[in-house]
Symmetry: C2
Subunit: 336 residues, 2 copies
């Protein structure tokens, strides 16, 4: 059985390009006891992967040059020598970018095909949904009547953050990079206000106008000058959940800006970085909460699905141009 | 009855000078019902007062030009028309810098003269002690075997932070501004290591050497480049309590530095600003804890007492030269 994989050809300096990736075909060995042969159905591309392409130690270990990129993949069991899995099962795993792969059963999660479309398990019911749920509710702790601001609001995480905040009775303001995205947030997802940062010269003033009672919770996916504008409007006892800093993922020097400590001191404010795996102990509670809202139609979810294994690098690179709305996936194959 | 007060003559630009203060004598009116006449015994001078000398809104309201500076004062009741207080009682209050003052009984706290020297209630059993206790234990949450770093370590708050951290079984590293202070921290207070930042060109390397297992808790009184050196050594899930930013209290522009958000993200670290009054609900617990340790001789406490009401401005200005060790007070009069 032949499989094609996408390897890290070289480490990017600044913004990644197609030259950092390389396609390679190999012959797969026969299955050993405890292994399953998996066919990729959907591959998730996510901003955090940029960090793993660098050599620097980050919150997840770096990819190795000459080895496959890996991340969230939904796959079908084609052949199994692991008792827990049968041919036809669909699983979620942290798997290489490969058309077919051999994996040990341990570390895979079986997906209930009835709950929602399979791809949802890479999004609203997967890592991005859990990230939104845990960061907003466990760090932000929004209370009814408070104002919640989210940056990267039209992304896979941001759209869920804003909708959960609305379900909690908050005023919700989203920051995104186009008027179309702002329309979508306000008209489709029920955000109270939206700010197109690309059309705004004074973010602090724009936030002040959109948040007349100040900012109680800030869920930050972006960082940088957008974030400085939010900081200028924090309320006493504000909570800031730092989920991402996409403004800097391609930075080649340490970013410099106004120091935040004096603001946190004046406002008795809290700021906490996190990754979703900090909350594995609460994934059960979070997944049940998200699934219930999805089934009740209270959480809307948008996917941007690119077709074909050959398009995975382009789909990943597109994350950094700020043009996509919703969770970016690549469909590799249909389930049999 | 005549009283002398120290007024804010003008707002400082940058570091305050004696010219920002003005002594003025007034005649006090007779007591009304509910009022007490107080004689100042000890006046506390504290770095946070610099913030109140500026017009800018901060976590405490600004002093008004032409009105007395106010802060923590221990005073004796000379005359009382308030049932709760009798002549000879000693009280703690937020009171004007005046030799005598008339105050309403409400807002004063009666001091038990038996527990400790009266002046301790402006220090280890007062605002600085409570600040150390609440910030370290309620934000820092140090666990046995962890490493705690405190900046401004030889100050009224820092000395208590370090000693409590030792009582909790932590490795404790103090940062201060002279070799004498470092000797004091290590030899008198039992700190494990000390760093004289004035004699250190590479703070990050110095912290790395003093903290071979990294930094779990950072109690920051200072900010700036000292703090950047600590940030470079944070462990996963580190907690940073921001108590003060004395490096910037006299700053006339917004300080700029390396952005901290990416570090908090990589380390899943928490940073929280606070003032002691955020924890009024837990003052009872904190005061009992501190008093017990003081009485058991487990908390050492050093005061730097200047003599005479005329020296109050100089004692305050001395806070910003980094030369004093221990809590800075001015003795105004002896109790009768």
């Amino acid at each position: 059985m032949k499989a094609t994989s996408i390897l890290l050809a070289s480490r990017p300096h600044g913004t990644p390009t197609e030259e950092n990736f390389k396609f390679e075909e190999q012959e797969l060995s026969p299955l050993k006891e405890g292994e399953v042969l998996l066919k990729a159905l959907y591959i998730s591309v996510d901003p955090y992967m940029r960090g793993r392409m660098s050599e620097a130690k980050s919150y997840v270990p770096p990819y190795k040059v000459g080895e496959p990129i890996a991340g969230g993949v939904i796959a079908e069991v084609v052949e199994s020598r692991e008792q827990q899995y049968a041919k036809g099962d669909v699983v979620l795993g942290n798997l290489p970018w490969s058309t077919y792969t051999i994996a040990r059963g341990k570390g895979l999660t079986k997906i209930d095909k009835q709950v929602a479309p399979l791809s949802y398990h890479l999004g609203i019911l997967g890592m991005p949904g859990l990230t939104a749920y845990c960061g907003l509710l466990f760090i932000g702790e929004p209370k009814e009547g408070e104002t919640v601001v989210v940056s990267g609001a039209a992304g896979a995480v941001g759209t869920v953050v804003g909708q959960i905040a609305k379900l909690k009775g908050c005023r919700v303001v989203g920051i995104a990079g186009s008027d179309d995205k702002i329309d979508y947030l306000k008209n489709e997802l029920g955000f109270d206000e939206g700010i197109n940062y690309k059309a705004t010269s004074d973010m602090a003033a724009a936030i002040a106008q959109a948040c007349p009672d100040g900012v109680d919770v800030y869920f930050d996916n972006v960082g940088g000058e957008i974030t400085d504008g939010v900081y200028a409007n924090l309320n006493k006892f504000a909570r800031i959940a730092i989920c991402g800093q996409i403004a800097y993922y391609n930075a080649t020097t340490v970013p410099v800006g106004p120091r935040i400590e004096s603001t946190l001191l004046k406002k008795s404010a809290l700021m906490k970085g996190f990754i979703v795996n900090d909350y594995t102990g609460r994934f059960g509670e979070a997944t049940r909460g998200l699934a219930k809202w999805v089934q009740e139609g209270k959480l809307q979810y948008q996917e941007n699905i690119t077709e074909g294994f050959g398009q995975v690098p382009q789909a990943f690179l597109g994350l950094f141009t700020g043009e996509n709305t919703g969770k970016q996936l690549v469909r590799i194959a249909d389930p049999s």
